[in-house]
């Protein structure tokens, strides 16, 4: 690693690699301001078909802001979002759901006082006519989900309240939910923070497996070694901008690390 140099504020943002074909999701020249604070400043980002993208950068770089935007819960101040080449508005969770995006959040989006089944189907309840919950159908699906996608150690009752689960088990429920409903893109925002080493290995293997089946993922992480295990492309952010982008074949752990820490 060479000497650490600082980026001058006037340095133009890196445009990075051009998308191959029509990307599943593309963000062009995205700006997000909170009052006088600019969280994203001319950010470009795209996710291709069947690839795993690493979104890296130090705290406050704007990774979570970008993930929340792609999840639809944090609309941009300006910029263009394209899903499958068509311009779309991401104003609410419903918009991103329509584009096939599922997110596993850093601050696990589960309600402690509700059961595993109710958490998995929250906002997407299986209902009978009149909007009444179909408890039996949801429990049946939950059994399948918990059994197939993510076998969670120690969880054997879908009626158990999420508040009684361990951090890793909660994370696993959140992952199982996203995996079940995912269609095109899975966003993983620091998914391994509550997981053990073994659970992390399993999750990363699973992300690779999903890619082989055609589902793309965006992995937000501080752990560059994890990123190198599964990701095809690396995007490094700093101060709301892209400062480095490279395909796995064209870069190395040292180079990516250098770009994360130099900014």
């Amino acid at each position: 690693m060479t000497a650490i140099e600082t980026i001058a504020p006037s340095e133009p943002p890196v445009i990075g690699l051009a998308p191959v074909g029509t990307p599943l999701l593309e963000m062009r020249d995205i700006v997000k301001r909170y009052g006088s604070f600019t969280a994203l400043n001319g950010m470009n980002f795209h996710v291709n078909d069947a690839e795993v993208v690493a979104l890296l950068g130090d705290n406050g770089a704007g990774k979570s802001t970008l993930v929340k935007m792609m999840s639809g819960i944090n609309p941009p101040t300006s910029g263009t979002i394209l899903a499958n080449g068509k311009e779309v508005q991401f104003r609410s969770r419903a918009d991103s759901e329509a584009a096939g995006v599922e997110t596993i959040y850093q601050d696990i989006a589960l309600v402690d006082a509700m059961s595993i089944t109710r958490n998995i189907f929250l906002g997407r309840e299986i209902v009978k006519p009149g909007g009444f919950l179909d408890h039996r159908a949801m429990e049946e699906k939950t059994i399948e989900i918990l059994g197939s996608a993510v076998q969670i150690s120690g969880i054997d009752d879908p009626e158990k309240e999420v508040g009684f689960l361990s951090g890793g088990q909660k994370q696993a429920v959140a992952i199982a939910r996203a995996v079940h409903f995912k269609r095109n893109i899975l966003l993983l925002d620091e998914p391994t923070s509550a997981l053990s080493v073994r659970e992390t290995e399993h999750l990363l293997a699973y992300v690779r497996e999903l890619r082989d089946q055609g589902t793309s993922s965006v992995l937000v992480t501080h752990n560059i070694y994890h990123a190198f295990q599964v990701c095809d492309r690396f995007v490094v952010m700093s101060h709301g901008q892209k400062v480095f982008e490279a395909a796995k074949a064209d870069t190395s752990i040292d180079e990516v690390t250098y770009h994360v820490i130099r900014t």
């Binding site: 589960l110 309600v111 509700m114 906002g123 209902v127 919950l133 197939s148 150690s153 399993h202 497996e209």
Partner: protein
């Protein structure tokens, strides 16, 4: 956690086995698990214990007239208005908000109903039949609108509902005096309104039947309908609800509207029963309703509670009041006991949950 996608049926076996074990529990184990896992578990134990003690005392001592028809009738009648109000307050608490204005609305909406009934000629036994129904609809609409206004101001300006509804409580109290004055108001609606809302089936007054109907509807809505699921979600973890695509504004607004509606309904039911309405009659009821919900296992910060808890909380409070009245204890004993009960109920709930 192991991640495999192969053979989902086989890998679900341990879950199915666990569910089978759960379904094959003995009745006592089931009861224990219910008590430890449900928010109203603790209060259910307390309620049953109190009933057993009081009924045993009544059987042992004929002077203690707890089981007399007259006493049961009076106690049931007393439960209904507060219970109806507490259903709305409790659902709003689950959604993570408070409404302190329900006591004022209770009086105001009843007075609107009584005044319009008189104006439209529905007063007395020979009055116009439709008038009290139309007037009650107006009263319920006012209550609902007031509830929605509380919600709108709270959510639009992102201020605590405690503050919004504290202001609303004083405002509606003032509006009541402005609209009607401080004197009590006669309310003798024409038939069939009077029988529908003020009649009796044996010792069961119409108001308690309406409470039972309302509780059943609220139970279906809160525990078995999509909207109830969303109430728990926005109250339990607002950020999670937003992230998953639930609109907290819309969800909470519905809860605020329901609370206003139920406050008005409670006021109208109570007014019909006693045939007169006191402008200050609802004062303090908002806190008693919140107390009933807390005794029934509701979390003050939202996300936890149940309809059975609201019903049992209300019923337990009035059982204690009734017993004290039968023992000719002075009125302030009631407040002392309810005060103790709130704290005891919460301590007990916490203890049971920790053991569970």
């Amino acid at each position: 956690m192991t991640m495999t996608q192969s053979d989902p049926v086989a890998s679900s076996d341990h879950i199915r086995a666990a569910i089978d074990t759960r379904n094959q529990r003995g009745p006592l184990v089931k009861l224990r698990d219910w008590i430890t896992s449900r928010p109203e578990g603790g209060i259910a134990v307390l309620f049953v214990t109190v009933q057993i003690v009081v009924i045993a005392a009544a059987l042992a001592n004929p002077q203690f007239r707890y089981l007399s028809d007259a006493n049961i009738a009076v106690m049931l009648k007393a439960i209904a208005p507060l219970g109806i109000m507490a259903l709305g307050v409790g659902v709003l608490m689950i959604a993570g908000e408070f409404d302190l204005s329900v006591g004022s609305l209770y009086s105001f909406c009843a007075i609107v109903t009584a005044t319009l009934t008189a104006q439209w000629g529905g007063d007395g036994a020979e009055g116009v039949a439709w008038a009290p129904f139309a007037a009650a609809a107006a009263g319920l609409a006012v209550g609902t609108a007031a509830g929605l206004l509380n919600g709108y101001v709270t959510l639009k300006f992102a201020i605590p509902s405690f503050i919004t509804t504290l202001g609303a409580m004083l405002m509606w109290k003032g509006v009541t005096l402005f609209y009607h004055g401080a004197t009590s108001l006669r309310f003798k609606p024409s038939e069939p309104f009077a029988t529908l809302f003020g009649g009796s089936v044996g010792i069961v007054h119409a108001s308690i039947i309406w409470f039972a109907i309302a509780a059943a509807i609220f139970w279906a809505m809160l525990h078995h309908h999509r909207i109830g699921n969303h109430f728990f979600a926005v109250g339990g973890n607002r950020q999670a609800a937003v992230a998953i695509g639930i609109n907290p504004m819309k969800t909470k607004l519905i809860a605020f509207g329901l609370t206003g509606f139920m406050a008005a309904f409670a006021g109208i039911i109570a007014g019909t029963r006693v045939s007169s309405i006191q402008p200050g009659g609802g004062q303090g009821l908002e806190l008693v309703a919140i107390a009933a919900c807390v005794i029934g296992g509701h979390a003050l910060m939202g996300g936890r509670g149940s309809i059975l808890g609201i019903v049992l909380g209300t019923a337990l409070m009035f059982t204690i009041q009734d017993v004290l009245l039968l023992m000719r204890a002075p009125g302030f004993y009631f407040e002392m006991f309810v005060g103790l009960l709130i704290v005891l109920a919460v301590i007990m709930n916490m203890a049971i949950r920790r053991r569970g």
